[in-house]
């Protein structure tokens, strides 16, 4: 191993700095000026540094380091390769925006003291960075659980509300179960040499059965964190419960870290990849994405909607991972690299755009104190900054060209188009279905995002709070602007970043898209005649065309513009309350995908003088999977309770019988 270069130490320094900043937050915990205006910007600066360092060293050779900390036999190992650096970049750049936003966001008197929040927030960041650079099972798990724990405390900031406590509990419980799965996975992967460094796992030779066990344990563990259906139940509860910058971090960064885990285990630590793993992952991913999109469409709470949209995106990410595994297993390395690049690209996209949206809901929440879509509306007038920047995020998440979301979807669809070439007769038939489903999901995402944006920012204010909203402060604007700029840049210049991503795929798959990325402006993942996409040209020509049309119309047209009341179809009392509600907007989806939902509806009778309409849309999984498990535990525990029934004679009898039984056993 070469001498670690200074960049490695710089990378290490950032998590340390974050923890230090967090601890400083305790010094004057109640002072918004200190915590908000000093520490959070510092944290953001550290994030920026991390991102830049990672960007600069993305092509550098792998470096590793052993820290003099940790267990006796197992010191903390640290390793920086291209995959780790890519995710550090993601953490760094995303947290920069979120950090700047948070600097303006947190105010005194909201639940937990700002100083404590600052500590939890920065420890959360630091733990995510450490997860990525950890190179042994123990450090990985410590960082992983610290991440869960710090985010748990962030989620329960508003712990006075019962539903938030419940959300926190479910979150931590599932996170813990997931961590157990990961632990088991590491246990399987060391394959008898009892070295828990990742290097030892790389060297281990596993039989296919054990390798599969390890893979599925990893899928379970990381899937629980990522919100893979059916382990998703915590996500729509916990993400909305947290303060918005934290939701942004959780959705935008933490979920991607889970994907990192899957990639690390599958492509780096395991030495074989079986094609059917990919098929299962892909299937789960597809179902998750469809599930997330469909549920997002019927939500009435803006943050819940975004949380479900995160589930959808996680599904897409796992889809990409699965596709990559399949290609890799069939030794189609170039295509595997393509799918991987699409996945990683989508990680970054999702990190930026989902953070952007969550942050903008934070601004809306601050301005109106309202989360329910049914009470917002028309905020584009009162909050133009937030609204226009959120529009960027909306279009990006919806996967529309020429923004970034489209790039990764485009790459993924391209990868799908090669699945008929797979040398396996069923798989190559089945997989194009995946493309169909992906297309459906992408279209649904657009539906969801129109609902999200339209109901919050467009139309007329539905309640007074929305009518009196104020736009966000300067720091918040900078944070939003940073993320929005990221979305646009990634959308327009995908090629340079994809070229950087080649380092990752070279490291993991031994192949890259190298020669296909010759033109900086033209994206040709496989071959120019096969497919090409040039977002720059696309964007430029759109702008030019719009400008030309505007100018042309200006040139020929001289009419005036008159403002008037909207046309009411002859109905005299058109009030803002007659706009389509969030429920109404989701209604067609609810109807089409009815089997997905567990719907409880109370319709008023025709003669009711004060009619009430109530509908509850719930998740089947909760009732079909989690509730029975909880019931089972309760039943067993009541059986176990019978053991302890208070009578001393019975207790003595237990001892006696135990003794007799053991004696008989020994005899």
């Amino acid at each position: 191993m070469a001498d670690p270069n200074p960049l490695l130490y710089a990378t290490l320094l950032v998590p340390v700095a974050w923890v230090a900043i967090g601890l400083l937050g305790l010094v004057r915990g109640r002072s918004v000026l200190w915590v908000g205006r000093t520490l959070f910007p510092l944290g953001a600066l550290a994030g920026l540094a991390l991102g830049l360092v990672a960007l600069a060293s993305l092509g550098a050779p792998t470096e590793s380091l052993t820290l003099p900390l940790g267990l006796a036999q197992l010191a903390f190992h640290i390793r920086l390769d291209a995959l780790a650096r890519f995710f550090l970049l993601l953490i760094g750049f995303t947290s920069t925006g979120i950090g700047v936003f948070s600097a303006g966001y947190f105010r005194a008197g909201e639940g937990t003291a700002p100083g404590l929040l600052c500590l939890q927030y920065h420890v959360f960041l630091a733990s995510m960075a450490v997860v990525v650079i950890a190179d042994d099972a123990y450090l990985f798990l410590v960082a992983w659980e610290t991440m869960a724990l710090s985010s748990y405390f962030l989620v329960t900031t508003q712990h006075r509300l019962p539903e938030i406590r419940r959300a926190g509990f479910i979150y931590l419980l599932i996170a813990h179960l997931g961590a157990i799965g990961i632990l088991l996975c590491f246990g399987v992967m060391q394959a008898g040499n009892w070295q828990f460094t990742f290097d030892a796992m790389r060297a281990a030779q596993l039989t296919p059965v054990w390798a599969s066990t390890a893979f599925f344990l990893a899928l379970f563990g990381f899937g629980a964190k990522a919100g893979l259906v059916p382990l998703h139940v915590w996500l729509p509860e916990a993400h909305p419960a947290a303060p918005s910058p934290v939701s942004a971090l959780m959705s935008g960064v933490m979920l991607e870290i889970a994907v990192y885990g899957v990639l690390r285990v599958t492509f780096d630590l395991l030495h074989v990849q079986l094609w059917w793993w990919g098929l299962v992952t892909l299937g789960l991913g597809l179902f998750t994405s469809l599930f997330g999109a469909v549920f997002a469409a019927v939500q009435t709470d803006m943050k819940r909607l975004l949380a479900y949209s995160s589930i959808e995106n996680i599904g897409i990410l796992f889809l990409g991972v699965g596709l990559s595994i399949i290609f890799h297993a069939f030794h189609m390395s170039l295509l595997a690299a393509l799918a991987l690049a699409a996945t990683l690209y989508h990680c970054l996209n999702h990190a930026l755009s989902k953070s952007l949206l969550f942050l903008s809901t934070g601004s809306v929440l601050h301005a109106t104190r309202e989360r329910s879509l049914g009470k917002l509306g028309g905020l584009i007038h009162r909050m133009p900054w937030v609204a226009w920047l959120a529009l960027v995020g909306t279009l990006a998440i919806a996967g529309l060209p020429p923004l970034n979301g489209f790039v990764s979807e485009w790459l993924l669809l391209q990868a799908f188009l090669f699945t008929p070439d797979l040398p396996h007769s069923y798989v190559n038939m089945l997989l194009p279905m995946g493309a169909a489903a992906l297309a459906l999901v992408a279209a649904l995402a657009a539906y969801v995002m129109v609902k999200f944006y339209g109901v919050i920012f467009l139309g007329q204010p539905r309640e007074r709070a929305a009518r009196e909203a104020q736009d966000c402060g300067r720091l918040e604007r900078i944070g939003l602007l940073w993320l929005a700029a990221g979305c646009v840049l990634l959308g327009i210049f995908p090629v340079p970043l994809l070229a950087l991503l080649n380092n990752v795929s070279r490291g993991l798959l031994g192949a890259s898209l190298g020669t296909q990325l010759q033109h900086w402006w033209l994206l040709t993942p496989i071959a120019p005649e096969r497919a090409s996409y040039s977002p720059v040209v696309f964007m430029l020509s759109t702008v030019v065309l719009v400008a030309a049309v505007v100018l042309g119309v200006r040139l020929f047209y001289h009419g005036r513009i008159r403002k008037a009341a909207p046309w009411g179809c002859g109905f005299p009392l058109l009030t803002p309350r007659m706009q389509d509600t969030a429920e109404g907007f989701g209604q067609p989806i609810r109807q089409i995908f009815e089997p997905f939902f567990r719907i409880q509806r109370a319709l008023p009778s025709p003669f009711d003088t004060s009619p009430h309409y109530r509908v509850r849309v719930e998740d089947h999984f909760w009732y079909a999977l989690y509730a029975p498990i909880a019931g089972l535990v309760r039943r067993i525990s009541s059986l176990a309770g019978a053991v302890q029934q208070g009578r001393i004679s019975v207790y003595l009898l237990y001892s006696f019988l135990t003794l007799i039984a053991l004696l008989a056993f020994v005899l």
């Binding site: 028309g378 996967g399 669809l413 169909a436 539906y447 609902k451 049309v549 020929f556 005036r560």
Partner: protein
């Protein structure tokens, strides 16, 4: 890329922009004839656009800038689409910038903006229209994409000119999968362009309208642009259909300007036939209930997927 191809490209776009209302007029005229009416003549769309451009605009008091931006975006994206679609020849230099997937994305962008604009006013109709528009979109889009996929699996490319070139100038082959795709495409075309049986472009009946509800608040130049882009959209879709399923007669990228000149009348003829067919379909069908529209589109989606499967199964 040289100046000639650039000029050809521009010519094609301009031709499309100009010819689009004509196609719309032709379809309407055919429909009138089929319904035993005299009709307003094929040039009626031009007159309407001209009239709208001369009016003063009325805009709802609480419309946001987004509302006023959307018609331009709408029109620009349809122009862009026209630049990608090989309506006359396959050597379009601009097609490198966007393949079929990007084309679908472009249509989606236009639709999303339209839906957002519809919601901007905050009336019951606007948001209802937006919802229905998106509903149609989310089912039609994947179907369209599947149609493209079938074609691109045949030609091993997602680039539209390459696809068309393979289909038109390659070895003559019968593709059963394309039959499925063709039917699916037709259904998508009907739905996307607000034609019967999914929507009725001529109605303003509140309960059934889809597209009209979204543009209810537009007037004058904005409405003109929207109307024009709607016509352009129909033109684009028809050209896509022609390029995919009746590609013969298109000029290949390497051919001389003579071929190009020849392609103009051929395409024109094909458009006339297609327009008549469209009118025929519209006249023979009744409008579906709005709740049936998803079923209609789901069928389209299934047919497209079926086409894909057939291709994989038969290898053709």
């Amino acid at each position: 890329m040289n100046i000639t191809t650039l000029i050809t490209q521009l010519t094609e776009v301009i031709l499309a922009v100009i010819a689009a209302p004509l196609l719309m007029g032709w379809v309407n005229q055919c429909r009138s004839w089929l319904q035993n009416r005299r009709g307003a003549g094929m040039l009626q769309p031009y007159r309407q656009i001209r009239k709208l451009f001369h009016k003063d605009a009325v805009i709802a008091a609480h419309a946001s800038p987004l509302f006023r931006l959307v018609p331009y975006v709408q029109f620009a994206s349809m122009c862009l689409a026209a630049a990608i679609i090989p309506s006359l020849w396959t050597g379009l230099p601009f097609a490198v910038a966007a393949d079929t997937i990007a084309l679908v994305g472009l249509f989606a962008t236009a639709r999303v903006f339209l839906a957002l604009a519809a919601m901007d006013i905050g009336t019951a109709f606007g948001s209802m229209g937006a919802r229905r528009e998106m509903l149609v979109g989310f089912l039609a889009e994947p179907a369209l994409l599947m149609v493209f996929f079938t074609a691109s699996l045949i030609s091993h490319s997602t680039s539209l000119p390459t696809i068309v070139e393979t289909l038109a100038h390659g070895r003559l082959a019968i593709y059963p999968s394309l039959a499925f795709a063709g039917v699916a495409f037709l259904m998508v075309l009907l739905a996307e362009n607000a034609r019967i049986p999914v929507d009725n472009p001529a109605t303003h009946l509140e309960l059934t309208m889809i597209h009209e509800a979204t543009v209810l608040e537009y007037s004058a130049r904005h409405l003109a642009l929207i109307e024009w882009s709607v016509a352009l959209k129909l033109f684009n879709y028809t050209c896509i259909g022609l390029a995919l399923f009746l590609p013969w007669g298109l000029a290949a990228g390497t051919h001389s300007p003579g071929d190009l000149l020849l392609a103009i009348p051929i395409t024109g003829l094909k458009l006339l036939v297609a327009g008549f067919g469209l009118a025929l379909i519209e006249s023979l069908n009744a409008k579906l209930r709005i709740f049936r529209a998803p079923e209609f589109l789901a069928t389209a989606f299934l047919l497209a997927v079926l086409g894909l499967l057939v291709h994989l199964l038969l290898g053709s």
